[in-house]
Symmetry: D2
Subunit: 428 residues, 4 copies
């Protein structure tokens, strides 16, 4: 049935500048499901648990108490997830005792004095209209023991944690401590990273909204670049260790000429370096749009620039946006060529908007699935989309980072769309 006719045997070498071609012998299974008996044995192929409501649950709804916490940076859709968890608990299972923990893990440490927020359907019903987190968030972890003490003192049975990889590491420790103390608390994470850089999950919530916002910003940069002789629109886009937002936004916009990402280091100077390529582009077309992911070009950090770490323990990035702006301006000034560079750093504008329609739906389903898992007694896990299906994944699986594959589809499409050289390095 799924055989595709060919006109003949393809024998002409492809002119497409694709680093990796598709191998005709590698195919995708029509049916990716498997039926196991009980838990899968070593013999059965490795598989994942499918998310959804179970016929039998572990917690007695009327005696169950739930808490929700949001940690780390904002991402579109957090409020949608909170709303969905509350609605499903309340109307789906009849769990009426639900608390919001304020300002991330701080809210579980009594000395901060943040009171809990009662979450009822009436309280959360319009949460999704606003960006950000109605619970507030904070960075960094807190003392694990103290947090578990609080969960116990508050008689929490279901603990929903919305956060990034740092948060999930803390959640693992919390789940471990709960197991050690033998407490009846299910801990379920909903992974959040606007950068979309989790290797085991198809896409993270908020990403779709973020690229739409980023694409609008790039359009402004495009307009500015065409508004002046030798105009350059330079935009810094979120993405600490990966260029996913930069690449997708560039694909969605179509007017970008250069995308610089952490996965593809570049030289500034020299014949094949970025500045020479940019100069050539300006000569031909009079304007250029340059997108730089915040984690790109870290190899250019000046020796005297001290790194340091932020409260979440991340290494502070060297500000590649401002650096590029200054390098480009200096380069053209030295050549005595008029240049009109407009630098745009949209920063928070991309992440603090409300979720768009498809992220809203995604967040609602993630929240519902998290509830189904927790009510069935699953713990130390996250919910996520995997090959188009919602599944349960162990906490550890979401801490590995997904890079933009510089030999893959998206990067190839990006190179095709921008027309930039595959490599801007003098020796490669």
């Amino acid at each position: 049935m799924y055989t595709i006719r060919s006109l003949g045997s393809p024998t002409i070498p492809s002119p497409v500048p694709a680093s990796v071609f598709v191998d005709d012998n590698r195919r995708i299974l029509e049916n990716p499901y498997v039926v196991t008996e009980g838990h899968p044995s070593a013999a059965t192929p490795r598989s994942l648990e499918i998310a959804g409501p179970r016929k039998c649950i572990y917690f007695e709804p009327s005696k169950t108490k739930a808490a929700i916490v949001t940690c780390g940076g904002l991402s579109p859709g957090i409020n949608d997830v909170i709303r969905a968890v509350v609605m499903e608990l309340y109307y789906g299972y009849g769990v009426e005792n639900i608390s919001g923990v304020r300002y991330g893990f701080q809210g579980l440490i009594p000395s901060y004095g943040h009171p809990l927020m009662d979450l009822t359907p009436d309280v959360v019903k319009d949460f999704h209209l606003a960006g950000g987190s109605k619970l507030g968030s904070s960075r960094g972890s807190q003392d694990i023991g103290e947090m578990v003490d609080s969960l116990r003192r508050l008689n929490i049975n279901l603990f929903f944690c919305i956060g990034g990889d740092g948060t999930m590491k803390a959640v693992q420790l919390i789940a471990g401590e709960i197991e050690r103390r033998n407490l009846d608390i299910a801990v379920v994470g909903i992974p959040k990273t606007i950068d979309n850089d989790l290797s085991t999950i198809d896409k993270t919530f908020g990403f779709d909204t973020a690229i739409a916002e980023a694409a609008s910003v790039i359009e402004c940069a495009h307009v500015e670049s065409k508004g002046a002789p030798n105009g350059v629109g330079l935009v810094k886009i979120m993405g600490r260790t990966s260029g996913h937002i930069a690449v997708s936004a560039a694909l969605a916009n179509n007017d970008v000429n250069f995308v610089l990402i952490p996965e593809s280091p570049f030289d500034l100077y020299g014949e094949k370096g970025f500045l020479a390529v940019l100069e050539h582009r300006l000569k031909v077309s009079n304007h250029a749009v340059v997108i730089v992911a915040e984690g790109a070009g870290q190899e250019h950090r000046p020796p005297d620039d001290a790194a340091g770490r932020d409260p979440s323990g991340n290494i502070r990035l060297f500000d590649i946006g401002v650096f590029l702006k200054e390098e480009i301006e200096r380069y053209f000034k030295e050549k005595n060529v008029e240049l009109n560079l407009k630098y745009i750093d949209p920063s928070y504008l991309i992440r603090s908007v409300p979720a768009n329609a498809s992220d809203s739906i995604y967040c609602m389903l993630l929240g519902q699935y998290a509830v189904h898992a927790a009510m069935a007694g699953r713990t130390a896990m996250v919910v996520g989309l995997y090959g188009g299906d919602y599944v349960h994944l162990p906490l550890a699986s979401v801490t590995s980072r997904k890079k933009v594959d510089t030999e893959g589809t998206l990067w190839r499409a990006t190179l095709a769309g921008t027309g930039q050289p595959a490599e801007m390095r003098n020796k490669s």
Copy 2:
């Protein structure tokens, strides 16, 4: 690795009103890929060809001519697909001879007199900024022989067809005729149906944009319903044979109280009928938002309403929106209850907007993959997303319709979100 811890054995029967629960023994394979030798044999599990550029191609680019046609109703993203096909042919393969066929299959019938449109990168570069189809479209098929005559006379080698299931049936006939005549023409389809009702494809392009637009319209209906005593906002939404747009838009909006879809027939009258349930809702909440897919409730077509068919051969639907409006108004008038019904039929407003960011990216990739397939000599196929992967599918596979599964996730989430009864029928 992918084992999820459980706090204990779930033994409490779930209170969740889900028709079908997840079976723990059914799991999803971690690795859905398979490596075959040559074409798959009967012994190997059924699998699909992965889309993408091949190392060797079938057509010599410099001698290749391509044509693109768009058929059927508009959908957001058509222009993005056209643009991507042209850009990939031109810059990826060096195919410079590309024509746009005007107004669907009419453009291949000389008697209509529609001239071809030359498609170069410069012509198509801003196509994606506008909704609709820059080539124009038309409904209905034309004489297959005449169309193949035209393709031959024009020396077309690659024929890209953007259209729905009616179009794909015609495309199959065209491909068959080409095979019969033994012509060197690859025919590749990019399936388009705003209704998202193709059973073998994860989602159709434009759907994401359409639900965002529909969700905005529903918000207006919600505002209107709250603006007057016993306000009812009634919205008719696209969806001839399936309620996908209606369901997804309701999930994205969160303020909907009733979603009526073709897959879930309903009684109007009687204790459990829609009108009684609506009356009860108004008593409790003073307002209601009702979404009805255009194909819903066709069982209520009055006996004297002649059906007929449109130029594409589809049965003309009975106008359930206007019918419901009148039935609701009559029902409350007879009961002498004040009612303020605001009927909204957004019709074309949902489909003629430009693609949003995620549809733009999707369309670009679909267009590129269609080109890769055609250049490699594949024919009589469509490109599509299957479980998160882009694949080649036979033309026949996209003519079967996907319904909203009334025992599945989305419908369950819809019932949970709206609070409407699972069935509005007097005997069930």
Copy 3:
């Protein structure tokens, strides 16, 4: 100072098809203000009271009770006005006792049983985020005596009425009854009509937002018209007695070919009639966008179409949109010419959105000025923008309707923009 240099004497007759040219002897005063002593005498030129806070007020804030009511159809910005009235009363004057009357004048008639809504800064702070009216509205007036009874029983001193000309007529009766009973109640109106058809006020709130929405709808019609051979996008736009929204939306959109408004009657048939002109346009350009104000072409009402009146007492309009759709389709069918007409009736979609930025500011100021006027004891008046200044106007002054001046600037710009004939009549 304000003399403009001319290169010479203009002597060439202008080719511009403007019905009325500017007379160089008519000029606008640099300073439109006048200082009177006490109230203006017959000798002084007629002038208006300027809105704003007075040094002395009439009502003692701590003893003052206020009520707000919203009547008639929705318009963007109603909630902004409510919010501004509450905020200014509360924070500006210290009036803390503020009630919202539910569902228009119904809320003052005990038999309806609509309870009042307490309005505090905390209640209203997010009102402006939603379209519609948070108080609800209704059409039609109620018994004047009963309403004044209620105001008295509730000890209301300040009564703010947001509504259209029908509402203002009722407000006049209420103010008269209050004067007759010698009650200490100030009645201040904020005029609302999305049609922008008040002759003494520069523009009504919500109009700006409405034309932006209408312009988006027209863009969809444009896309549809270009998507099929001989495509016609036909859009019905609000405007019972005037074409202001239709004209402004057409000017904002730039892709409209015909604007049909009540002020410019047209023939359908005959050599110069609309249908012949449309046919010519399609021959030349293959597509057309037609905007018709809902009050246009009422002269075409079929003899057997009974008019009737709506609850507000307005004559029910004959549905010119559907009529035109059918006439156009019949005309081309008889000529055996393919036609693809897409009819769009956006209806409520244009009026139930939240106010845009400039309407938000306008509504805030209108609300503040209404409060200043009422606190100073002014009554039986409305606030409005007059030549760029906020003023007090008598209630009676806002009931006269402003038409689109078919010899004025906007209509001339519309004819220029659309290219339609100044008159589509066979004998003129």
Copy 4:
């Protein structure tokens, strides 16, 4: 007719914290028009010429050549003005010879080598869909004589200049040089300044769009400020010498707590200084939104910060945004109080978007009126809106700057909306 009834004499001193109250004796004339005989004499009140088409014109259309130039920074609507000028010249008067000067005044200096752009209706028809300037712009003036040489060599008769006050000064010199040389060239300006700071014009084009964009940005800052404990959203908004955008955007948004503008200097330190007030606000409400116009607080420029000038001759502003960010962070760090400041500098994002609907209409009319004036032989003037009417104003009249009146309506409304102290100074 325009007498407003009062319930009685207002005698209670107003509690409203308004610096200036309305004087009841100052009123606005109902009729601001005057009819003069020929040009106004000294005896007649000062008045302005009304814009619009004249019965007789000065230039013979078929022999007339026109040019358009855009100078200075971008503003929404420039392309709408260009489009309207071309359309009115072409269709209104039959002037077919129209050129676009590239990159501001550079385009009139041969040594730059920028070719002219032919402007026909077909070229400009979609100009309004994009932000920026399709002609490109540049800062700074060029040699007046050389520019007039070019106008003459190109046989230009109508020269339309879109630009700010710097541009209008250059335009005055050009008009003077033209007069000196006795050339038949009409020079008409369309004033552009996104800051809306022209004293004789009601509002400048693009301002409406800019405040809508700014209000969206502020919403993001609001979300961020509520997303973390002691969150501060700090936004820098355009406005070199006036706070018009900052004030209007704050009014449109409603969630702002502090607006800092050039017109209202403030102390940073001390009991009544900004930092102490901010600290108090955070104690009470846990978050704050601060808007700072780029020209505000220049009195805080550190002594070692060298000013310098930009290519247009404007003094380079000290970066108050970054300065405030650092001062606030230091202040709270020294007090050992957790602070989460999110700094947003939207810069170009506010000005490079396309015009919204009301700006589009405004720009179309400005363009048409500029053409009517020039064709009638008027020169050395600009068109503008004055008290709701379109008029001709001398070039000199638009170079005086309008400040935010700190004793006026808008500032009073801003103080009321934000709740910030009228003065944040220690001794005042």
